[in-house]
Point group: C2
């Protein structure tokens, strides 16, 4: 019954006894096309529901107006807000956004890069997977003239534009807040240290302790604790310690949460006996009991900046483009879980 066909510019030409070039020009309102022909072409185009073929078009023009985004997982609130920011700016500039997920896997990341390199995207925005220790696979993009922008989890050695938050500052704000609230023995859940963001959070923690004249107790730094499960397990060991810490500064909300729930379960009063502070400001932070203090990373803004940076570079194709790094200030969102001093 139905024709099931994608009509091309040639089909239109055939029906009107003319050529593809004339049709192409008519559709573009070229001045040298007669009014009559223009109308006829547009009419047939409409009738056939003609859409130009993206592949042919981008092959000819050299750009498909498509931005690729590669993130570890889209269902993490932070990444999804960044996506929103990117989408916003990209749409405005008439670019499509192609999202893909590495699922934190190095292999997947490499194979995705390869497939994107085929010419599916004209520019790429990336936050690297946690299992990626070496991100040289991204260097091909530079070699092929495909602009690249890193955000959040960046591959420092590469000379490309980056958008990051000041993780160090976020940690400082967080730990200082805990100290100001009377905490003196602050434990820390650290993420994988080869990832810049986690490394910087840990640095901020250590420096802030020192700055306040508090000693750094290596035994209170728990490494690789980022999931709810590990948070919970770590709390179990903490509860067995002779002198329990009076606060936890976690590099992530999931582990902070896991630990907090475990502690409550074990009868620890939060925040009176133990205060908690996380990182990422996940939406569920606000609805826990008690609500979790956390660091907001302004994802939408990061996304906007990353997209703007990328588009700028794509449009100004000069070889002398100088990569920039944009640093965004994080905000500490104070909630009950850390208010040891006063319950306000």
């Amino acid at each position: 019954m139905s024709e099931k066909k994608r009509y091309t510019i040639q089909d239109i030409a055939r029906r009107l006894n003319t050529t593809a070039s004339t049709v192409s020009r008519a559709l573009q309102d070229h001045p040298r096309i007669s009014e009559k022909m223009r109308k006829a072409v547009k009419e047939v185009a409409l009738e056939l529901d003609y859409q130009p073929d993206f592949r042919a078009l981008s092959l000819k023009t050299g750009s498909g107006r498509t931005i690729g985004v590669m993130v570890p997982q889209v269902d993490r609130h932070f990444f999804s807000t960044v996506l929103r920011g990117i989408d916003e700016v990209a749409t405005q500039a008439d670019y499509s956004v192609l999202i893909c997920q590495s699922y934190e896997s190095y292999e997947k990341e490499v194979s995705l890069s390869r497939s994107l390199l085929y010419g599916k995207v004209d520019g790429l925005i990336v936050s690297v997977a946690s299992s990626t220790l070496d991100a040289t696979h991204f260097e091909s993009f530079g070699r092929k003239g495909i602009p690249l922008v890193f955000f959040d989890r960046v591959w420092e050695p590469m000379k490309v534009s980056k958008v990051v938050i000041d993780d160090y500052l976020g940690a400082v704000k967080s730990v200082q807040h805990l100290i100001d609230n009377g905490c003196r023995e602050i434990a820390h859940f650290a993420g994988p240290q080869h990832i810049n963001v986690y490394f910087n959070r840990t640095r901020g923690y250590i420096d802030t302790l020192k700055k306040n004249g508090l000693g750094v107790n290596e035994e209170l730094i728990f490494r690789g604790v980022i999931t709810r499960e590990t948070g919970c397990e770590t709390m179990q060991s903490i509860l067995k310690l002779d002198n329990r810490p009076d606060a936890i500064f976690s590099s992530g909300d999931y582990s902070a949460l896991g630990a907090m729930l475990c502690a409550k379960e074990a009868g620890v009063r939060v925040p009176e006996e133990m205060a908690f502070s996380g990182f990422a400001n996940e939406p569920f932070d606000a609805i826990f009991d008690p609500p979790l203090t956390s660091v907001d990373q302004h994802g939408i803004e990061m996304g906007r900046q990353a997209a703007a940076l990328l588009i700028e570079q794509m449009e100004n194709k000069r070889a002398d483009f100088v990569p920039r790094t944009i640093v965004i200030n994080p905000d500490l969102v104070i909630r009950k879980s850390s208010l040891k001093r006063n319950g306000s």
Copy 2:
């Protein structure tokens, strides 16, 4: 300094004083190419980090081996699990997945469809936006011979393959469970009724009440309650009622949660005085106090089935393909929030 160029098959040919066709064949291990030439070509290709141009390739071959997925939002747990299922099957079959978000907006959905129609994808998997009342814009895909599969939120009138869960059954299981636990006045938070999934959940609720000889009280059906905010507000009004319901069956977890937290805040004992049951089995359901009973939709499985269905249709390009609908059985995940009878 750096060349900043994408090398083509022609560049390789030029270096070896041969032609593009020979290079193309050499790279494909065509039998009629000499061992020597083959080696030489591959060597240069490697040296130049040659990657075939996706656009040229898919223009010629007619397929870019790309599946498009359009969902309302990627940061909803259900959708992100479906994505995982799709990704799994697609990757295995050597397809790339292109994700895009409608953000529940009809306009965005229409404009995305248009851009995908350009030939960016060879097949499409869709869950429609809540603001979409008329999804005829998807019919172009059929007309152009681009296979389409709906999942979860489907546009019933279209004759295409669909993957859904039995929302009716999910609601039945949920409400029956509440009744079995001694609830007699069960209120219902209903979603937008023009969306099939919400409509069916409400039907399941009504039918189950009737089946158990319980009357349906229209005043206990609250429409359009899907966010945490509206859930909370609705609970406020419920608490003012003369005869409060003893349970809430919500069509969504967010509103169930909002309501549950509000009720607890107001001093209602959960589940003793009021039981709660949601829909979607969001990951946070398990970590609330009390944990929320909910209906699991088997997202990964839905994604797998949808992708398999789509790929089958794409590869078997016969015009006589008959659309299928796959119905997946939901499971009720029982947690403390609904266990009124016994605290087990």
